[in-house]
Amino acid sequence: MNDEKHVPAAALRRYATGDPRSRADQVWAVEAHLELCARCRERLGEAVTFHSPETAALVAQVQTRLATEVIRSPQMPTYRMPRRVSRWAPPGFWARLVMTLLVLGAAIGLDLAGSSGLPPSVVLLVAPVAPLLGVAAVWSAGLDPLHELVVASPRAGLFLVLRRTLAVLAAVIPALAVAGWMTGASPATWLLPCLAFTAGALALGELIGLRWAAAALAIMWTVGVITPSVLTARAPWVLEPTSLPYWAGLIGVIAVALALRRDAYKELRSDSWFVR
């Protein structure tokens, strides 16, 4: 930028002192230019120092006050989840995902190490309930500090619940596939039970709250299937290929139940046991 495009010193001085004689169109030109030109801002600083003691005093006064305030005020974190991810993921997603992966890792370890005492694959046994840890966080006032706002938003309800569930599944199912590939548990055997448990938790959650529903299903599965299979060292019949049609039928029934009571996720429940 050449010199004649900068604000003349006299105009700058009049602007700095708030001289009422300066015309509006000039003030406009000066202000528009100052926003773009670092050099003229610098020159304005000098003009303030020399010609406008009130402004200079004000600047110094604010600087002293800021010096103590800035030390006390926390800054917002630089890193935030990419917006696209945070729009889909349920609150507290990462911690739960890591926990799920750790459980899967432990299951893989058991499968690979102790193949003598445990004929049924532990990964296969754990797979149906693996997404529940993430699903439990999908709709919960206890985990989501913004829950009341989310419930009040136009997109609240089953749509948002399903969207977040999809995000959970999109993270958990590939992990399960890798775990299954390492231990020889075919996706055909666990995918339908896995989906059935996810949908079942959502449907049951409409009645008793999602976190209770997920916990109840996981405990049921642990007590009813995982423990006997580990004790007897036999694969459970519910995970045999012959039972797959029943799983498919169950998913159908659950989907209907889910759709029938879909408004349950639009309500802001006041009973704390429900949403916790």
Binding site: E4, K5, V7, P8, A10, A11, R14, Y15, A16, G18, P20, R21, S22, R23, A24, D25, Q26, V27, W28, A29, V30, E31, A32, H33, L34, E35, L36, A38, R41, E42, L44, G45, V48, T49, S52, E54, T55, A56, L58, V59, Q61, V62, Q63, R65, L66, E69, V70, S73, P74, Q75, M76, P77, T78, R80
Partner: protein, 179 residues
Amino acid sequence: MTSMDEEALVHRIARGDRAAFDELYRRTSPWLAVRLRRRCADDELVAEVMQETYLAIWRAAASFSGASVGGSAVGWVWTIAARRLVDALRRRAREGRLPLATLAAPDAPAAEDEALEALLGAELDSAVRLLSPDLRAVLQAMVLDGLTVRETAVLLGVPEGTVKTRARRARIALRRALS
């Protein structure tokens, strides 16, 4: 530090760099103080607004999306300050302590003007000059300061409907002057 531009300074402030914050304050505070004092005659209020603005910059520097989305750091600073000023005026009005009248630039003739026309452009220059002070104040708040109708109404202390009417009249007058 002295060779960095304002965008780079804001990015360093986001990482908690006090020196960058002090440098940004040194570079922008006189400009911001003068600009705010031209809009609000109450120095106490201006100091309050400035303090809030720089605190907001310190806290929320990470939310500055940067020149990549077409925003300059200085423009960002002014946007924060203008909003804070309107908020402060609103607060004052609610408490019943009306601030002193804002400085209006009257139409007195001034000496050396010619050099300034290079900055604004001769046609726009004369078009702005033709506007009445009321219309000019509205246009300044909405175009130059980037405020909404509602914020302009608070800043100028007139009803929203009046702001809309004046903005419309200013637009028509400008169009006529520029065509």
